[in-house]
């Protein structure tokens, strides 16, 4: 609690004590009641009065200080002394709660996004570590990262190996093994042993700073709901104030014409009630706060949303389109199965792995990786790589040919076509065909679950766009239960296809596209909401998209939409609740059923409730 808040709290307590004392002394009957009530009134309201007067001088007549000033003075004028003090008292209590709630949520959000490193250990010429501000570290400097510390700047490991915790960036605590020459990004926590890192990016350019910057500035991209509210607030206050004036003078005027009792005081009291309700603060604060909470919560789950507007659009997603390679599949080739083996599968793999052991081709490497055992270099006599076809070599004492159909045909070895059209490596030993291996891009473990969850949440259609062969695309689509699939698309065809889908759908339905952010950047830019994936450490991917998934888990798409939906639900709850209560109180006030007490609730009470509700947007644990 800061000094300001403590002072207000003390004033509130003293004011309450005075009011209670007055009550027991039956002060209302006293002839000097007016003067006696001025004491607590001034005590509780002096700052508001000063602000109101300053406002009047500067021509700001519609601010809330002015309204509270008029309402409370009015109550005094009508002889409702304790009510006048109460109006101010409750207003101050409400303000106190409000600033507490906002301070608390600010703190919560900054704790959630606690990836900003506070210090770095910079090594000097004598190899001694000095604790410095990360801003002072330059590119090329060597820093020391101790166990339990955050990596302060992006860089390359030059000494040591360790395990990193990326949870603060990805929302998932998956340990990451790192060793010499590995690139590491700021914001990760070093968990195992001390690392020496050569800095490759200045602090402002480092991942942690960039992400924080992104999230903090996200609410600058305002959503329709926020714009609606600021427009509403601009009209609401003047209209209610006008209503108050009419309420004060019109009915007495009619009474005058009809020759009835004027009842001027009654209507004046009702008019003052109006003024108390006229502040739009509950709306103005709770809507941006809900969005801010939603964005903060999402970033905690490893999802960066670049603006409230994108969160709003994302919540209306009805079509989800995605790329295949790297999005739904791992984008890494793996040996998936063996066919027509004349020898055992293990033997087939062993010969293929030995033949491919010097290859830099991803297919060759995938075979060596699958084999997994150490290659005994002694048993490799010669290997010749034939570009685009395969390898021919003498390994394990035998002539081995491993490659595509054409390579084997060139060597006069007859092979049969396989029913499966995926990438195939045929193997021949001593000029005899012994079987083939299928190399396929494997589907990510959560892809299927993600598609299922999308359908369950009411997504109308899931669509896959890929440059891959139709057959492969269809197989993946069938396996994952994807509604529509378009294969063999060149990058520009992907865009035109997406445009066609966007045209054909209902205009209010939103289409989200998820891709890897590097090859798909133009498609991501064209979609209603562009989502890039696996963005950890990739600037291009972060740049291109509206929503960024920090790791490459496709289920994060579901989480992102769920967070957006929850946030927007809270936003609408707050809009309806705050406007609804205010209108009800205005009607009750006009009819004389609402006292100033109720009016105070309609003002500060609603605000506190709306703020508390908005904070819920921050909590997304159960949506993961």
């Amino acid at each position: 609690m800061n000094k300001k808040a403590r002072l207000i709290l003390i004033r509130i307590i003293i004011c309450v004590i005075i009011l209670i004392t007055y009550h027991f002394l039956n002060i209302d009957e006293n002839a000097y009641a007016l003067y006696l009530y001025l004491l607590p009134y001034l005590l509780i309201a002096y700052d508001i009065l000063i602000k109101a007067i300053k406002g009047i001088i500067k021509g700001q007549i519609f601010d809330e200080n002015f309204l509270m000033f008029i309402a409370s003075i009015g109550a005094f004028f009508l002889g409702e002394y304790h009510e006048s003090v109460a109006v101010m008292l409750f207003y101050q209590v409400g303000e106190m709660f409000q600033s507490y709630a906002i301070r608390k949520s600010r703190k919560n959000i900054s704790e959630l996004m606690d990836i900003r490193p506070d210090y770095a250990y910079l090594l000097d010429e004598n190899n001694e570590a000095n604790k410095v501000d990360p801003y002072e570290v330059n590119v090329g400097d060597i820093i020391l990262v101790k166990v339990g510390d955050k990596i302060p700047l992006d860089g390359i490991i030059i000494e040591g190996e360790s395990i990193l915790n990326t949870a603060a960036l990805t929302g998932e605590s998956k340990p990451l093994n790192v060793k010499i020459n590995d690139e590491v990004i700021s914001g990760c926590i070093n968990m195992y042993s001390t690392l020496k890192i050569k800095v490759t990016k200045a602090f402002e350019e480092s991942t942690a700073s960039r992400i924080l910057d992104l999230v903090e500035n996200a609410s600058s991209n305002k959503s329709h709901s926020e714009e609606f509210i600021s427009k509403f607030a601009r009209f609401y206050t003047p209209i209610v104030c006008l209503g108050a004036v009419l309420l004060a003078f019109l009915p007495p005027l009619i009474n005058l014409i009809l020759n009835n009792d004027l009842n001027f005081n009654t209507w004046l009291y009702r008019a003052f009630t109006f003024l108390v309700i006229s502040c739009p603060c509950a709306l103005v604060i709770s809507i941006p706060l809900s969005f801010f909470g939603g964005i903060g919560g999402a970033s905690n789950a490893g999802i960066l949303v670049k603006g409230s507007n994108y969160l709003e659009t994302l919540s209306k997603t009805k079509y989800v389109a995605f790329d295949k390679t790297g999005t739904m599949t791992k984008g890494i080739f793996e040996v998936s199965c063996y066919h027509e083996c004349k020898i055992s599968e293990e033997e087939l793999l062993e010969y293929a792995a030995y033949a491919e052991c010097l290859s830099n081709h991803p297919i060759g490497q995938s075979i060596v990786k699958k084999y997994g055992k150490k290659i005994d270099k002694e048993r490799v006599e010669s290997i010749k790589e034939i570009s685009g076809m395969g390898v021919v070599g003498k390994v394990l004492g035998k002539e081995v040919i491993a490659g595509n159909k054409k390579l084997l045909t060139d060597y006069d070895i007859k092979v049969e076509d396989c029913f499966d059209e995926s990438t195939i490596v045929y193997v021949a030993i001593d000029s005899k065909y012994v079987g083939h291996l299928h190399i396929a891009d494997t589907i990510k473990p959560t892809s299927k679950k993600a598609i299922k969850a999308l359908k369950e949440m009411g997504i109308i259609k899931t669509i896959m766009l890929t440059g891959d062969k139709n057959k492969t695309a269809n197989n993946v689509a069938k396996e994952l239960n994807i509604d529509e699939v378009y294969g063999e698309l060149l990058p520009n065809q992907k865009i035109s296809k997406l445009e066609k889908i966007i045209q054909d759908k209902n205009q209010n339905d939103v289409l989200a596209f998820i891709g890897d952010g590097i090859n798909d950047a133009p498609v991501i830019a064209r979609a209603d909401v562009g989502i890039s994936m696996g963005a950890l450490g990739s600037d291009a991917a972060i740049e291109a998209a509206d929503v960024v998934l920090m790791d490459d888990d496709p289920y994060k798409i579901v989480t992102a939409i769920k967070i957006a939906k929850k946030c927007l639900k809270i936003v609408y709850e707050n809009i309806y609740f705050a406007i609804g209560i205010k209108i009800i109180c205005l009607i009750l006030g006009a009819l004389g059923y609402a006292s100033m007490w109720l009016a105070i609730f309609a003002d500060t009470g609603v605000m506190v409730i709306a703020v508390l509700n908005a904070i819920r947007a921050l909590y997304v644990r159960n949506l993961k």
Partner: protein, 72 residues
Amino acid sequence: MKKTYKIDVDCANCANKMQEAAKKTEGVKDAVVNFMTLKMIVEFEEGTDEKEVMKNILKNCKKVEDDCEIYL
């Protein structure tokens, strides 16, 4: 030219008012006030003296909301 400034203000509506006041200041192309992070992002017009402009922004903001601060 875009710059971010730390601000201090008590209520959300006041923050909106500050934003409006800043936008209307001469030499300002666009201004956004973020109440949650208590930051003001000002985009200056080409060839303006930002220090001078910021002084005017502060003056205009003080006019609409007495109880505010921009840390220059």
